[in-house]
Structure formats: structure tokens, C-alpha cells
Amino acid sequence: MKRRTRRQIVLWGVAAMALVITVFPFYWMLNTSLKPATDVFVSPPTFGPSRWTLDAYASLFAHKPMARYFVNSLVVSLGSTALSVLLAALAAYGFTRFFVRGATAFIVFLLFTKMLPETLLIIPYFRLMSDLGLLNTYWALILAYSSFALPFSVWMLIGFFRSIPREIDEAAIMDGAGVLQVFFRVILPLARPGLVAVALFTFLIAWNAYVWALVLTTDASMYVLSVGIANMVGEYRVQWNELMAAAMIAAAPVMVLYALLERHLVSAITAGAIKG
């Protein structure tokens, strides 16, 4: 017993060290974001909360269209989520309920699209969007992000739909429900945990994406958070406390979402990665 306790203490010591290294950048982001401007460029830097203030946040919102970036990120992420969940649910339902031949090809095709290098697609995508006049629109980003989330979403929902017994559909059809009615009224409510996981997954992909938005938005009022933040780095004199405040605003929502729904998401993502 004593030996086991000692072992746990050693393990915890190592774990604590690894945790500090992992999480320290986030502490430093928080710490810097709460510093008054005069404390940012001092050496040695201050580590503690004694002079923390919300000045950087106030000044950030006063000088930069942060609220606008935030809304842009939100609209694009929610739009991608809605589109991707709807399409993925339709496909997964059709796949598990009606499909026999060609199924393998469909899955391999999905996996293939999931692995394409996005920088290659950006070139034609940029030209297409500019030809269609869709640069600097939400649509350009919503379409791009949905396409990247879709393969995995379909894959994940196939698993969920398969676990719903077909007898349920058949019973509903016997009762006179049409196929679409069965889908919307019976199957979707039953598949809710799967839909939530897929929605969350798509939302996070869209919220965290960068290079697409970098290319497809040139107008500062259409920047999403990731682009707005990365652009601040290039400024003549970087206000690091404001930049870290902006990073906090981008990072905090996903951290909260993850912490609340970790179990939900992680098991789905792990399974998806191992199986394909």
C-alpha cells in the first residue's frame, strides 16, 4: 500500500510538470491580457494578478472591430453547423436505410475528401468565389467549412443511425407516415446525441479554421476572429496585452464548450479516427 502511494506521488509529480508546460501558454495569455499597457514591456515580466485590469479588453473593443469579428465567426460557424448537420443526417439516413451497392465507394470517397490538403483546394476555390462574386461573404466560408466537416459527420452519423432499429421506421410507415416524416419526426429525435456531437464538431472546425478565411476575406469588416487576430501580429507596434485579450475571446468559447461536452465529443472523435 505504502509503495503504491509513493508511486502515485511520483506519477502526480510528473503529471503536474507536464500539465504546467501544456497549460502555461494559456495562463500567460490570460495574464498578459489582464496587464495594464505599462506592464507589458517590462523585464523581468510580472507573473501574478496584483495589477490585473480589464483595460486591454476595453481598449481592444474601442479600437478594433472585435465585436464584428466575433459575430462573423459566430455566423459562419453556426451556418456551417446547420448546413453540415442537415446534409450529413440526410446522407447517413439514406445510407443506412436504403443503400446496398456503391456504399463502399461512397465511404472511401468521403475519407478521401477528408484527407485532401486544404491549401491545394484554396487556389481554385479562391478563383471560383471571386468569379461568382462571393469573396467577402459568409457563404464562401460556410460552404468551405461544411465541406470539410461533412465527411466525418456523415461517417459518425452512419454509426448512430445504424444503432436505431429499422423496426421503428417500419412501424411508423405502417402507421401511414411518409419517408420524410419518418426521417424528421422519428429518426432525428432518436439520433439526438449523434446530432449534437456532429454539430459541436462542425462548429469547432469552423470556429478554429484560419487559412480559408485568410484567403476568402479581404475586407476587414468580414474578418473572422482567427484572421483578425493573426493580422494584429503584423502591425507596426504590437500591443501584446490587447492581442492576448483578443486571443482569450477566441479561445474561451471553445474551451468552455469542450469542458462541458468533452465526453460526448472525445469518444466520437476517437472512434472516427480509428475507424476512418
Binding site: 501558454p25 500567460w28 445510407f95 443503400f99 491545394l120 481554385p124 478563383r127 482567427s226 469542450y258 480509428i274
Partner: protein
């Protein structure tokens, strides 16, 4: 066609049309672009001239070598550290869920945002990394982390490792939980040391997962743009210019879309090779056939 199958196609149609429009068509357009010289609205067919030019250009081969070094080093570190962390976490007897969530944080946050945080940490004059290393007497003078080629390469690898380890850790944690406990007990009865238990029980049981995770990680790392794009943009002197960054710079800085598309096709070929390996190992088709 039976009614059933018609319904099947009707439900699949939206996704197929969508992917055809948003993935397949742009992909074909990318190939087409790689065969043309694009100057604004002025587009001329040049055959394989773009390929000939990029393959004749040292910048491409240099970038390929940076990509291969970056990817192999990052992936190796992801796997080793991810497995080590997973084994550590697996043996903790309390607070496993909050600890796991904390370890996952670098992976949750947007890579572009994580990279921005690291830019500040590594800032030469006021950055905290230089400060800490000086306090600990590891270095005497502040280092220009992103200003010097080999240091910049090491820095972007470090940030990529920071970001990439949690995902491998998750996979390995899932794998560790599938190892039957009695195998460890049997090994302990036979007097196996901790190393021997790792070598002869843990590793063989995780073999499949390790191969899958490495392949997947290679695919994800070699095509990743965001971290290097934000931190160095490929510099200094091309030291961190991996293929996706070279592609971006060629297309959107130098405005040479045809050349960029040709680089993209080369990158696609590499990714595709690993994807085939991945498909061969995981056999999603076989699993679906049996399901």
C-alpha cells in the same frame, strides 16, 4: 430501379451534389490550373511547363525537405510523448477527467490562435520563454527564436508538438483501456519488469493503433498550414517553408497560381500515398460490409 433505391439516392443526392460542387469541381479546377499560366484574367495553356519549372527550382526541393523533416520530427514526438502521457494518465487514480481535459487544451484552441500566443511567449526581448531560460541559467543572452533559421525550425516543431500531442494521447488512452488486465497480471507473475511489461504487453497490444495514429498524423501534419503560416510565414530564409506554406506564398504572395497548383498536386500525391496506406490498414470498406 426499385423504390427503395430511389429513396436511397434521393437522400444521398444533396451531399453528393454538394461535395461535387465544393470538393470535386475545385479539385479538377486545381489540376486544370496546374496546366495553365495564370496572369490575372490572362490564362494560357502551357502543358507541363509549370511542373517542369517547380521541379527544376531548388525552392521546391528545399521546401520538400523542410516538409519531410518537419513532419517526421513532429510526428515522432507526437507519438512518443502522446503515448507516454497516455500511460501516465492511465495510471492516475483520481481526477482523471479534469486532468485529461487540461491536457487537451492545446488541441482545442485554433492553431492560428495558439501560434499567436507562442509568438508572444517567444518574443526575443520581452518574451517569457527567454526570461525563464535565463533565470534557470539555461541561456546567457536572449535568443531570437524565430529570427535564426535552425532555431526557427525548432520553434515551429515545438509549437506543433505542443498542439499535436493531445490528440495522439487521446487515441492511445482509448487503446490502453482495451488491453486486458490479466495480461499484465500474468506478466507480473512471470516476474516481468516494468520495461518488459511495456515491451511485451503494452506495445504489441497498441501496435495497430500506433500505426494508424502515425499515418493519420503524417497526413494531418504534412498538409498543415496555420501554425507556420502565422509564426514565420516560411522564414527566415525559407528555413520553415513547408510545402503548404510554399504553396500559399507562391499563389497569394507571388501571384503565380499555375505554379502553386502544381506544387499542390505534388503535395496531394504525397498525402494520397499515406491515405492509401491508411485505408489499407483500417479497411473501412470491409468493416462496413460486415456491419
Amino acid at each position: 430501379m426499385t423504390k427503395r433505391r430511389r429513396y436511397g439516392y434521393a437522400f444521398l443526392a444533396p451531399v453528393l451534389v454538394f461535395l461535387a460542387a465544393v470538393i470535386v469541381f475545385p479539385l479538377l479546377y486545381a489540376f486544370w490550373t496546374s496546366l495553365h499560366r495564370v496572369r490575372g484574367l490572362n490564362v494560357t495553356f502551357v502543358g507541363l511547363a509549370n511542373y517542369a519549372r517547380i521541379f527544376g527550382d531548388d525552392a521546391f526541393w528545399h521546401s520538400l525537405s523542410v516538409s519531410l523533416r518537419f513532419t517526421s520530427l513532429s510526428v515522432a514526438l507526437h507519438i512518443v510523448l502522446g503515448l507516454a502521457l497516455a500511460m501516465l494518465l492511465d495510471q492516475l487514480r483520481a481526477l482523471r477527467t479534469p486532468v485529461r481535459i487540461l491536457f487537451l487544451t492545446p488541441w482545442m484552441v485554433a492553431p492560428a490562435v495558439g501560434a499567436t500566443i507562442w509568438l508572444w511567449l517567444l518574443e526575443p526581448q520581452f518574451g517569457v520563454v527567454n526570461h525563464l531560460l535565463r533565470v534557470l541559467h539555461v541561456i546567457d543572452a536572449p535568443l531570437a527564436w524565430l529570427g535564426e533559421p535552425s532555431l526557427a525550425f525548432a520553434s515551429v516543431v515545438m509549437v506543433d508538438v505542443w498542439r499535436g500531442v493531445p490528440f495522439v494521447m487521446l487515441l492511445m488512452l482509448a487503446g490502453l483501456q482495451t488491453i486486458p488486465q490479466d495480461q499484465y497480471e500474468a506478466a507480473a507473475i512471470d516476474g516481468a519488469s516494468a520495461w518488459q511489461r511495456f515491451r511485451f504487453v503494452t506495445l504489441p497490444n497498441l501496435r495497430y493503433l500506433l500505426v494508424v495514429a502515425s499515418t493519420l498524423d503524417v497526413i494531418n501534419t504534412i498538409r498543415h498550414y496555420d501554425i507556420i503560416g502565422v509564426m514565420t510565414g516560411g522564414g527566415p530564409a525559407g528555413a520553415t517553408e513547408v510545402l503548404p506554406v510554399l504553396l500559399y506564398n507562391t499563389a497569394f504572395r507571388a501571384n503565380r497560381f499555375g505554379d502553386a497548383a502544381a506544387i499542390g498536386v505534388a503535395l496531394l500525391a504525397i498525402v494520397l500515398a499515406f491515405s492509401l496506406v491508411y485505408l489499407k490498414i483500417t479497411r473501412p470498406d470491409r468493416e462496413l460490409a460486415s456491419a
